[in-house]
Symmetry: C2
Subunit: 199 residues, 2 copies
């Protein structure tokens, strides 16, 4: 398969490339590395898909959000998650439904915070819940056997040093284990699923 | 209690006012009737709260979203739900955390489409999932015993004539029954709950 990995240079993206790279053609994309794309701008996404030609799968391991206590949050700070983590990923589906090969798949990233919140995580939880619900809804509409799933990981082992203090009491999972859920989505046949990866 | 009902003139809002009006002071608000407010604009929300003085509860029975098949949806059409149904309701919490009386409550409206999607409902499902996850996250941060819940109804009996064709196979619930869930939220003591009202 020809698989586009958006956010390929991130902690999760690298693990996804390591998992799938040995048996598929990977096209790495990101804001600043590989094929350049700004997922918050659907024109940028459409231009990328046009440039790349036929794709069998799209994986998104990208998406920004602001962490901040609710009493410091503003509509503008929520907008970071809405533009990037929510609409950035929705844009990949909107553009992908036209251009992916038949029975192709799109796999997004949400996270456990949608159901298991932490302090300072309201906009991240909101985005995760939005993506999970969108995936369930989009799956019943996609044409030509196209599929869409989301992977919802807890904190990555590789991120404990930076984010561990905000997520006490969660057993971290290795990015390589989360990458297996992306393999399950891309190389399996399910659609409309949220693959929770929680240790 | 002094209870603000946003969207008080809508099908659901009227039932909420009927349920709570006999034992509480209701302040009706809406885009075009009662106390005027544009929930998509936090300045409008803050101005309303300032004008009204102390409130013990806020209920939102308002929020727009566009219904359309995924292959006709655009980022701009998703934005209708993001601005109104998502951020409009988030704005009530952002402003409410400062101005509600101690142990006051905010009750939002999501819906069953977040977990049980229909054709043409991707932006509504997304908004419902966003609100449900936001409520769970905001509940653990609110100060002074403030509470936040969401009511997630299926199709209303009163709306079958207009929307029934899009939601076949769902047993409708009367708006008066959905209003009970708002009573449970406002007059009870729970927080972070999603009250599913599905027949």
């Amino acid at each position: 398969m020809r698989i586009l990995v958006v956010g390929a240079n991130g902690t999760l993206g690298k693990a996804v490339v390591a998992e799938l790279g040995s048996r598929h053609e990977i096209i790495a994309a990101g804001r600043n590395s590989g094929e350049k794309v700004d997922i918050s701008d659907i024109k940028s996404v459409r231009a990328l898909f046009k440039r790349l030609g036929t794709l069998d799968a799209v994986i998104c391991a990208a998406g920004d959000a602001h962490f901040g206590m609710l009493n410091t949050m503003t509509p503008e700070l929520f907008d970071i998650a809405l533009r990037s983590k929510v609409m950035g990923q929705v844009n990949l589906v909107l553009a992908g439904q036209e251009s992916l090969s038949d029975r192709g798949s799109i796999t997004l990233t949400s996270g456990t915070l949608g159901r298991d919140p932490i302090l300072a995580g309201t906009s991240v939880s909101l985005a995760n819940g939005a993506i999970d619900a969108f995936v369930r809804a989009a799956a019943i509409e996609l044409p030509r056997g196209l599929r869409v799933n989301a992977v919802a990981p807890t904190i990555l082992t590789e991120s404990v040093e930076v984010y561990g203090a905000y997520m006490r009491g969660r057993r971290p999972v290795a990015a390589a284990d989360v990458a297996l859920a992306f393999s399950k989505s891309v190389e399996g046949a399910q659609t409309g699923q949220i693959y929770l990866v929680d240790a």
